[in-house]
Amino acid sequence: MLLSGDEALARGAYEAGVKVACAYPGTPSTEILETLSGYPEVDTQWSVNEKVAFEVAYAASIGGVRSLYASKHVGLNVAMDPLMTSSYAGVRAGFVVVVCDDPGLHSSQNEQDSRWVSMFGKLPLLEPANPSEAYEFVREAFSISEKFDTPVLLRMTTRVAHSKEDVAIGRRVEHQPFEFKIDAAKYVMVPKNAYRAHAKVEARQADLAKFADTTPLNHLEPGTGPVGFITTGVSYYYLKQQFPEAPILKLGFSYPFCDEKIAAFAKSAGEVFVMEELDPVIEEHCRMLGIAIRAKHPSFRVGELRPELMRPIVAGEAKVEQPSTARRPVLCRGCPHRFVFTMLRKSKAIVAGDIGCYTLGSAPPLSALHTCICMGASITFQEGLRRALPGRKIAGVIGDSTFVHSGITGLINAVYNKAKGLIVILDNSTTAMTGGQNHPATGATITGKPTKKLIIEDVVRACGVDNVDVVSAYDLKALGTLITDRLAGDALSVIIARAPCRLIDRDSRPAPAYDKDKCKTCGICLSVDCPALTESPGGYVAIDRETCMGCNLCVAVCPPGALTRVEDIAS
C-alpha cells in the first residue's frame, strides 16, 4: 500500500496492539490519529490539548494497555510537564510518544529540534527515515518501552511524516493487557519516591546505551570512498542518493548514543562527516567523545536539508539563502475571518493573534494581526500588552479550537486579575488549519459520533466575563459597531463571531456585479485580500466568477458602490 509516514506509523501501532491513542491535531502529525481512528479496536480521541492527550494515553499504559501519544513538535512543549516525570515513573504496558518536527517551517511557528527532549527527559529516541521504518520502528518502540520500563520517543520530520511509499503491511496481534498493580513507590512521585526513581533513570540510561550498541536499529553500511557518514532520519536517503557507495553509520535508535559503534566506525572510515538536519546533536556528542569529525556549516542549522545540498555541505560551504518565490497562502474565498479582520483593521487596534488559519490575516494587505507566538497566546497577550500600553486599543483574536485548547485559562486569568479589553473568538466550528477536525465545541468525537457539545458563550460567561456577544461573522455592520463600542469601553468583553468554515460550508451565492464606470480605483476592495478579486490595468478590479463565493464583503467595503450584490434567484 502507498502509505505516508503518519499512516504507516499508525498501521504499525495498530498491528502492535495499541489500545488507546490520543492527540491534538498539528501538522505534520495529524494523520496518525486520523488513521488510528479508523480501527475499531483502538480507543482514539482528539484531546483538548497535548498535555491532556499525553496524560490520558500515559495513564492507559499504567493501566496495563499499550498506548500512544502523537503531536507536532510545539505540541510536545505543551505536554512537557507530564513527559518529564513520566520518565521517572516509567510505564506498565508500552507507551510511545510520537513527535513530528517541521524543519523548514512548512506549517509551524518554530523549527525546534525535539531530539533534545529525549536528552532532557532521559528517554530513548527512535528516528525512522521513511514510512516503512515508521511502520517497523513503532513496534520496536513498544517493546523497548516495556523492556526498559520507559516511555519511548519516536521522532519524525515533515519529510518522513508526509512522504509516501509502498509499505508491506501485516496483521494486528492483540497485546495481552498487563495486570494493573497499585504501586505507590512507582506511580506517586513525591520527593522520596522520585529521588529513588531518578536513580533508576540513571541506571536505565546506562542499560539503554548498551542496547544502542547492540540493536540493529543502528546499523553500519560498509562502503568505499574517502568520507564515511554518521546520519539519522531522512538525511540518510539524501546521502544514499548522492553518495551511494559511501560507508554510513545510520542511527535509528539515536539516543542514548551508541558510543562503541560510533568509535568503531570512526576508526574504520577515513574521514567522518556527521549529516543531520537542524541542531548539531550527534555532532556535539561525537566531539565530546573526542572523535575527529566534520559537520555541516552552522548556517545549515536553519531550514531543512535536501538531496541537492549534500555535496555543498560536505564541501564545507555555507548556506546560500534563496528567496522564496512560492505563492503565499491566503484566507479562503468567502472566509468569515476576513470580515472580522476588515473591521479590526478599521478600528486601528493592536491585535494579538493566535495559532490557526486566521494567522494568515497577518500578511499584507490585511495586516490585521500583530503577534503570534503559540497556542492560547492571544488572550494573555491582549492582557500583557494592555498592562504595558494603558489607554491603547488592544484586542485579541483566537479560534474556537484554540480557545478550548488553551484560551480558557488565559481568560480566567484576565477576569481574576481585573484585565480589560476585547477578545474576539473566531468560531468557525472546526479545527480548520489542520483539515477540519472535531473538538469539544463541535459536538462530535474523532469518529464523528455525537457527544456533549461545549457551548463557548456559556464557558466565557462561567469564566466571569460580563460582556459577551454572539454575532454572525458575516454581519459586518454589527461587528463594526460591537468592536468600536467594546474597544472604547472600560471592561473585559468577548465577541464570539460565528460562521462555519468555508471548507465545510461550500454553498456559494452569485458573484457581485461590477460597474467599472462607478469605480474610483481606490483599491479598498483589494485590501480585503480576497482570492477572487485581482487588480486589472488602471487600478480597476476583475472578479473571478468561478472562485467567488458571493460573500459580498467587497460590496460592503466599496465606497462608491461600484460593486453591488446580485440576489440569488433560487433564494
Binding site: L2, S107, K240, Q241, E308
Partner: protein, 159 residues
C-alpha cells in the same frame, strides 16, 4: 551505480488537485511493479498557496525529493508555478506546459489534473489498466467523466 528511476514534479496552487494527481501516478506506478516515493507538504493545500508534489519511481528509490535539474517530467496546473519550478527539469526532460492551455479550455477546471495525467500516461510505460485502477481508488468520484477526460488527454499527448 546509476539509479534507474523516473521522476515527476507536479505543481500548482491550492485546490487544483496537485496532491491527488501525484497520488494517482504513485498508485499506478506501484501497481505496475515499481518502488515509489512521493513527497508533499500539507496544510496550505486549500488556501491558494503554492503546492508541489515530488514523485519518483523505479527499481530502487532513495530520496523522496527530486534534485533540481533531474526531473524527467514537469506537470504544472498553473503556468506561473510551472515557470517557478522549471529549473527542476532535466535538460532533456518533458515540460507538460504546452498541454496546460488545452486543459484550461476544458469546460470544467476541476478536470485539469485528470487531463494532464492522461497526457503524461502517453509518455510513460505504465499499463492502461493500472491507470484506471488508480483513478478508481484515488479519485473515486465521477469515474466515467474522469476516464473520458483521461483518454482525451492520452490521445492528445500522443499527437
Amino acid at each position: 551505480m546509476k539509479q534507474t528511476t523516473t521522476s515527476v514534479l507536479f505543481c500548482g496552487t491550492g485546490g487544483q488537485g496537485v496532491l491527488k494527481a501525484s497520488e494517482v501516478l504513485g498508485v499506478a506506478a506501484m501497481l505496475s511493479g515499481n518502488r515509489v516515493k512521493k513527497s508533499e507538504v500539507h496544510g496550505m493545500a486549500q488556501r491558494g498557496g503554492s503546492v508541489e508534489s515530488h514523485l519518483i519511481f523505479g527499481d530502487t528509490v532513495y530520496s523522496p525529493l527530486i534534485v533540481p535539474g533531474e526531473a524527467d517530467f514537469l506537470v504544472c496546473f498553473e503556468a506561473n508555478e510551472g515557470k517557478r519550478l522549471a529549473h527542476f527539469l532535466k535538460s532533456d526532460g518533458v515540460n507538460l506546459l504546452p498541454w496546460l492551455e488545452e486543459a484550461e479550455n476544458l469546460p470544467d477546471s476541476r478536470f485539469i489534473n485528470t487531463y494532464l495525467l492522461g497526457v503524461l500516461s502517453s509518455m510513460l510505460a505504465i499499463g492502461q489498466e493500472h491507470w484506471m485502477t488508480a483513478i478508481e481508488t484515488v479519485v473515486a468520484k465521477k469515474i466515467e467523466e474522469n476516464r473520458r477526460i483521461f483518454a482525451l488527454g492520452a490521445s492528445r499527448g500522443k499527437g
